[in-house]
């Protein structure tokens, strides 16, 4: 049978080692290019500018790239989160990626759900968790903020609920400066709860990247490094792999990983994959 070749999709970035921000466990955030909405305070406005495309991937190429963090994903219940832009513009790609993945990693999507029904139908049973940014449930606020109707958002939410996916949906409701009030948000929460959804995240939306960065501690990278180091040690211990981590004193400029950390991860990965090739049970 002829093997299907898959078109490449444009990405703006692949951000590794995301912790507690884009899904459970250690996560790589894949930002796909393009979005139909034009939100007034879009924090990734470059998604409308072709010059922001950094790399094109087929599903297999992306899978191969992310394999470097295979152990982190599996040991922490993490995986990949597709964001953007609007990732469901590429639901064929995500569906194909999920087939390659075969449940090895969790797959999450950060979406506005403002896409055709078919795009959601294609992937909804393959996705582990949806983070749905509904903006506001009031149609006129939504239209004023995004320049679009929220009809598709509502019908897609209903589709997912009708298919019993309530437990896989976190609804994000941002407090957007100059667009919605506390009363508007309360109303949105009420409407969402009435549909049977219970994972609701209400938050103050940061209207620019500088604001987001200023909230991030200068030691964030070192925290990530510390966590990953402990994950590696745990994997080694659980699988009786001789392992010694290198203690490093970099704090301020740590980005969460470095050549030494990568070397340790590679060593452990090869040991684990070797065991798996020999059908030896591993603990991850």
């Amino acid at each position: 049978m002829k093997k299907m070749t898959f078109h490449k999709v444009p990405t703006m970035s692949v951000s590794r080692h995301r912790i507690l921000s884009d899904g459970d466990g250690v996560v790589s955030l894949v930002a796909l290019y393009g979005c139909t909405l034009h939100c007034r305070y879009c924090i990734n406005d470059e998604c409308h500018d072709e010059s922001s495309i950094s790399q094109w991937f087929t599903p297999q190429e992306l899978f191969d790239k992310l394999m470097s963090d295979d152990l982190y994903f599996r040991a922490t219940g993490g995986g990949v989160t597709f964001g953007g832009g609007e990732p469901l513009l590429y639901s064929d790609f995500i569906s194909e990626f999920a087939k390659i993945c075969k449940g090895r990693w969790k797959i999450n999507v950060e979406t506005s759900l403002n896409v055709p029904l078919e795009s959601v139908q294609k992937v909804m049973t393959q996705i582990d968790h949806f983070f749905v940014d509904i903006k506001d449930m009031n149609p006129s606020i939504y239209n004023s903020y995004t320049g679009h109707s929220n009809e598709m958002v509502c019908s897609n939410l209903k589709l997912m609920i009708d298919n019993g996916l309530e437990g896989k949906i976190t609804v994000r409701i941002p407090k957007i400066k100059e667009y919605n009030t506390k009363a508007d948000i309360d109303s949105s929460v009420k409407k969402i709860k009435a549909q049977g959804l219970s994972y609701i995240d209400v938050f103050d939306y940061s209207i620019n990247k500088q604001e987001v960065y200023s909230r991030t501690s200068s030691k964030h990278g070192k925290v990530v490094c510390e966590v990953l180091k402990r994950v590696r040690q745990l994997i080694a211990d659980a699988n009786a792999i001789p392992y010694e981590t290198v203690q490093c004193n970099v704090v301020e400029n740590c980005v969460g990983t470095c050549p030494k950390c990568e070397q340790e991860l590679k060593y452990l990965s090869e040991k684990i994959w070797e065991k798996e090739k020999k059908s030896i049970n591993v603990k991850l």
Binding site: G77, K219, I235, V251
Partner: protein
């Protein structure tokens, strides 16, 4: 089931039990507090919960030891029996 069942707790334990240079400044203290406030329990309650998790996961992780746990939570009430 992943090796680390509750990753958010694991992260917090890592922060609490991190190298001194990571915990020694106000900045790093804020970091811990930020993590605690991410939809989780109030610090006191969570500390108690973390302790339970540490004890339960001791066998699997091989660390920390009883002494390390005691050191980690050395401000806790004396009557708390960790053994």
């Amino acid at each position: 089931m992943a090796l680390i069942e509750d990753f958010s707790k694991f992260v917090k334990i890592s922060i609490l039990d991190s190298e001194p240079d990571l915990k020694s400044t106000d900045d790093s203290q804020n970091e811990s507090e930020e993590l605690w406030t991410m939809g989780m329990l109030p610090p006191d309650e969570e500390k108690r919960l973390l302790k339970d998790i540490l004890i339960k996961s001791e066998e699997l992780r091989g660390i920390p030891s009883y002494d390390e746990i005691k050191q980690l939570f050395n401000n806790d009430d004396e009557e708390d029996d960790l053994s």
